[in-house]
Amino acid sequence: MKRRSFLGVLGTIFGVTAFGSVAYPLLRYLGPPQAKIDAGKQSFKKADVGDAREIVFQNTPAIIINRPGKGYIALSRVCTHLGCLIDYDRKSKKLICPCHAGFFNLEGRVESGPPPKALTTFPLRVEGEDIIIG
């Protein structure tokens, strides 16, 4: 009888621990993931029409372009092919990857070359003299 109740207590302890150690990860899973986006609202200076400004937004090299007639856009500079940093070519109004000649238009979409998909776009707002990204 004694042995029985000892086993019972031990079993309860293990059962509760087991339940807790499975419930804990699941509860953590439900919590908000490290909020990446709203962690950083950054503001930057404006650029002239037709000009671009290279910035770093949350550790990602990015570029703000003031497109003639279409306003600002903020794009990641990380090429979607293998990750080289694209440059803005003022003359041809394109974004060019120096590594394997990936060409993107000013919306960030692929025009030619090996990149498989469009550049990441960051949401942006113009406030007075500043541009707020995030």
């Binding site: 042995r3 029985r4 086993l7 019972g8 031990l10 079993g11 293990f14 059962g15 621990t17 087991a18 150690s21 499975v22 990860p25 990380v78 293998l82 990750g83 080289c84 940093l85 060019i96 990857c97 120096p98 590594c99 394997h100 000649a101 070359g113 090996p114």
Partner: protein, 283 residues
């Protein structure tokens, strides 16, 4: 009752065989010539012709060289460099379809530079490039990298045999020394990333930022200016250290996962043992 089932089975089998009778030939042919996964990708007409008997011996090994190249592994094919139309045999080598053929010695950098824009820029301004443009004698891309069998770059491409074709190796050696440590670091990070992949992690962000750093670093080499390389080494080292830190954090996370799972394993194995003992004590 079971005879009915067996009978229906026999009917099914014979029906299947009869139904297939007319198709048998087609199926056998299909099976022998087609793999299960996908249809064989149609060979380009460039390769078809260049591997055929009518082709001059000299040009016949080109497809084979290309097949093992870094370009082939990255889906860069004949027409990407040479132009022309690989899908239409009769127009394949038509200049109307942009066919270039084999370029002149001095035109090669432009051909490669169609894609490798950044490297072309540095090369053109370098001693190598100037010698080629002004005197028509300097080394072009294929002098060091080869043409059809282009391989992934390794620092040993800078070696006494190759460089001393044109000038004393000493100058190249200093360059190699300046590149050495950074290059080793890149290599060890590459190994770590391959290891992470094997362990089920998809380190694409690290891979991309490594490729960018490495590409910038290699582009820089094409200036063949030791002072520039030395000047930028600190910058590259700090970039690479950043990537290394992230990799280290990932390895630590993996070891935490292992410990956590082992803990759970022990808890459940313990529960199993205890319940087994409880059952014993009841019997």
């Amino acid at each position: 009752m079971r005879y009915i089932y067996i009978l229906s089975l026999v009917i099914l089998v014979s029906a299947a065989t009869t139904a297939s009778a007319g198709y048998r030939e087609i199926f056998e042919k299909e099976f022998l010539s087609k793999p299960w996964s996908t249809d064989i990708v149609a060979e380009s007409s460039c390769i078809e012709c260049h591997t055929s008997e009518v082709m001059d011996e000299k040009f016949r090994s080109i497809p084979q060289d290309w097949r093992v190249s870094w370009h082939a592994q990255n889906n860069v094919s004949c027409h990407d460099c040479h132009g022309g139309d690989s899908e239409d045999a009769s127009m394949a080598m038509s200049h109307k379809r942009g066919f270039i053929g084999s370029p002149n010695y001095t035109d090669i950098p432009d051909m490669c530079g169609k894609c490798h824009i950044g490297i072309l820029k540095n090369y053109v301004e370098s001693g190598h490039g100037k010698a080629l443009i002004e005197e028509g004698t300097g080394p072009n891309c294929i002098t060091c990298h080869g043409s059809h069998n282009v391989q992934k770059v390794h620092i040993d491409i800078i070696n006494a045999q190759l460089c001393s074709k044109c000038h004393p190796y000493e100058r190249a050696k200093i360059m190699k020394q300046a590149l050495f440590l950074t290059d080793k670091k890149i290599e060890s990070i590459e190994d770590d990333l391959a290891d992470l992949r094997k362990q089920g992690v998809y380190p694409d962000r690290e891979e991309k930022s490594l490729f960018n750093t490495q590409a910038q670093f290699r582009t820089l080499f094409h200036t063949i200016d030791v002072a520039v390389v030395k000047d930028k080494t600190n910058f590259f080292t700090s970039e690479l250290n950043g990537i290394e830190d992230e990799i280290k954090a990932t390895f630590e996370e993996l070891s935490f996962r292992k410990k956590f799972s082992t803990f759970l394993m022990l808890i459940f194995a313990g529960s199993w043992a205890i319940i087994t003992l409880i059952i014993r004590s009841k019997d």
